[in-house]
């Protein structure tokens, strides 16, 4: 029983990582119709930023860890800002080209990171309390999982509050419905695009910092691996739906961990793809997605 609980919470932790990345991508897609392939590289870059902050300490203090997380969020935001201004904005209205540009950017960033720091994993030191465990109903749960789940919950509540209560949230929700109409009403959608893209980058940055604490290390290719699972989360949950992404990331994270533990290591990753194909066949628009309007 305690093993079962352990695997479940581990899976929830993994699902939280997917969600943090997928939430940003989901809002970006909803508003801008751009699916960013560069956010995996943003995640890796932010992971390296937190590694630079933490690497010289054997067991860093908690403030140091918070600083590292802040730096990784900032890194993700800055890189995303540059990407939006230099690549996405000039290609406004050409969704395919925007997507391809993010593919190219992802390649360039990963190659740069591999060139500077090498392709191998770098260990990220963690504070003691993060590597120790808390006993929940007899199961020793690693604190890093709990931190992840907690922060993902904060992200979820934060996004919902921003979307529901703030003016920006209103503009974003309106823009998702009809961005041409919103700009016709005299609202600066261009700025909203930038804000949303940067916010997505910051979430990827948070994901990078957290992935470091989850896996205990960072490599240039970590982000791309996570990105694919986030894409799967997005499709199963329904493109553009935050709540769908939430459900899908929980289901995916838990079932992946279960299958990897109880059946065969690695089979969980294949199972996830099976779930995706099943979703496509039964409900192509995803759990909470809306059927695409033809006109």
């Amino acid at each position: 029983m305690s093993t079962f609980l352990l695997i479940t919470i581990s899976g929830l932790g993994l699902g939280s990582l997917y969600f943090v990345l997928a939430a940003g991508l989901s809002v970006i897609f909803g508003l801008m119709r751009v699916l960013s392939f560069a956010h995996g590289a943003f995640l890796s870059a932010s992971g390296f930023a937190s590694w630079i902050v933490l690497r010289s300490f054997e067991t860093p203090s908690t403030p140091r860890l918070l600083l590292a997380l802040a730096v990784s969020v900032l890194t993700g935001g800055v890189v995303a800002l540059l990407a939006e201004v230099l690549l996405i904005r000039p290609l406004k209205g050409k969704e395919l080209e925007q997507l391809l540009a993010t593919v190219g950017l992802g390649m360039v960033l990963v190659a740069l990171m591999a060139g500077i720091w090498g392709p191998d994993e770098h260990l990220i030191p963690r504070p003691d309390w993060l590597t120790s465990t808390t006993s929940i109903a007899g199961a020793p749960i690693s604190n890093s999982r709990l931190l992840l789940i907690g922060l993902a919950a904060v992200v979820l509540v934060g996004i919902q509050l921003i979307l529901a209560r703030t003016r920006y949230g209103l503009v974003i929700r309106a823009g998702v419905e009809n961005s041409a109409m919103v700009s016709a009403l005299g609202i600066n959608v261009k700025r909203t695009f930038t804000v949303v893209f940067v916010a997505g980058g910051m979430l990827a940055g948070l994901g990078g910092g957290l992935a470091g604490t989850y896996y205990g290390g960072i490599s240039p290719f970590l982000g791309d691996g996570m990105l694919i699972f986030s894409f799967i989360v997005l499709i199963i949950g329904g493109l553009g739906s935050i709540n769908g992404a939430l459900i899908a990331s929980v289901v995916l994270g838990v079932s992946q961990s279960m299958a990897n533990y109880y059946v065969l290591n690695g089979i969980g990753d294949v199972l996830v793809v099976g779930l995706l194909v099943a979703t496509l066949l039964v409900r192509p628009q995803g759990l909470l997605g809306q059927k695409e309007r033809l006109v």
Binding site: E95, G115, L239, L276
Partner: protein
């Protein structure tokens, strides 16, 4: 036959003859290839470039002509490659039965995979193809179904027929790769000129309008994707023969993205453009590492040396620049000139059409 068509066919024929007699050319080309042109190492590099060209052409059929952007084309190429090696290694089948069986399985996989993925349109289709390809990549990386894990599988001793085996027969393998390009190109070029091909291009331009006219868009898309992916599996078979086996590098996301990159680099919707992009990409990818360890690069200061030693960095930058400044890819350099010449010949329709298209946007 008009003069320009004669010129084109003549040029293609000449290129083919030159490519066919390359294995007899005992010349070194100044470090561009690992050795003299007819050395086995060089011929293998050339064969890999040709296989990449064929694969890019197949992707162009669904991406450039039908508007189906697949981020998982490596799935089908990888499947053809792995199935060939694994089935041929089965002593009861051997190479002679293994290859046809692998191709038959590939058709089934192409049909099933695309039937599922095409339930999504637009970006959803791209994501679905990507995710399915990734599932396959994970499966072969972990070594499921006898795929050998990270090292991959090689043909067992004596499985490959004699003319395709051994260092001395690399030229036969090269000719096989050349034949593959010719077959794939001719099949695709004929297909896009048929009525069906025109419907595909209609779907690319506007799926809704094509549907309203009365065409079954899903069926036409499925046909395009299945043919394209089956041809890709054929490229996988030849890849297996060129490499003497299969390894995960051909199945992963990286290779799928590389194929998209080749097509965009060369020019979407132009078959020879895709091939050109693929040849360039594969050449740079295979040869840049040895170039970057040369003295020219190692003498540079570190901030310059790091990006230049990463083929993906240079290719990625080139890719972004092409997207930003040359949306038609490298092929547009030639086609634009051709169009200008054509517009001079009959001023009216050719000049008016682009203006209308601009206005509609």
């Amino acid at each position: 036959m008009t003069k320009s068509a004669a010129l084109r066919y003549g040029g293609a024929g000449l290129l083919l003859v030159v490519l066919a007699i390359l294995p007899f050319a005992h010349r070194s080309v100044g470090g561009l290839l690992p050795g003299p042109v007819n050395s086995p190492g060089s011929l293998q590099v050339l064969a890999l470039m040709l296989v990449a060209a064929a694969a890019a052409i197949t992707l162009d059929l669904m991406f450039g002509y039908t508007g189906l952007m697949s981020f998982g084309h490596a799935l089908y190429m990888g499947f053809g490659c792995y199935a060939t090696v694994i089935l041929s290694n089965n002593p009861r089948l051997g190479f002679a039965l293994g290859v046809p069986l692998a191709m038959a399985l590939s058709v089934a996989v192409a049909l099933l995979g695309n039937a599922a993925a095409l339930r999504l349109t637009g970006i959803g289709f791209s994501m679905a193809t990507l995710a399915m390809a990734q599932g396959f990549a994970i499966a072969v990386e972990r070594g499921f179904l006898g795929s050998g894990g990270e090292v991959g599988v090689t043909f067992a001793r004596g499985v490959l027929p004699d003319p395709l085996r051994g260092v001395l027969n690399t030229r036969n393998v090269y000719w096989l790769a050349l034949a593959l390009v010719v077959v794939v190109y001719v099949v695709c070029a004929l297909l896009v000129r048929t009525h069906v091909g025109h419907v595909w291009q209609g779907i690319r331009e506007n799926p809704l309008r094509t549907k309203v006219i009365g065409y079954n868009v899903y069926a036409y898309q499925l046909a395009a994707a299945t043919i394209s992916c089956t041809l890709a599996a054929m490229c996988g078979v030849v890849f297996a023969i060129v490499m003497g086996g299969a390894n995960p590098s051909i199945a992963g996301l990286h290779y799928s993205l590389a194929l998209v990159l080749m097509v965009v680099l060369g020019g979407r919707g132009v078959l020879w453009g895709a091939a050109l992009g693929a040849v360039l990409y594969q050449f740079l990818n295979l040869r840049l590492p040895s170039f970057s360890s040369s003295e020219v690069i190692t003498g540079l200061p570190k901030p310059l040396q790091i990006p230049l030693s990463q083929p993906n960095f240079l290719l990625g930058v080139a890719f972004i620049l092409i997207i930003l400044f040359m949306p038609g890819g490298l092929a547009s350099i030639f086609t634009r000139r051709g169009r200008r010449a054509a517009s001079k010949r009959d001023e009216e329709p050719a000049t008016r059409e682009p203006v209308l298209a601009e206005g509609a946007r």
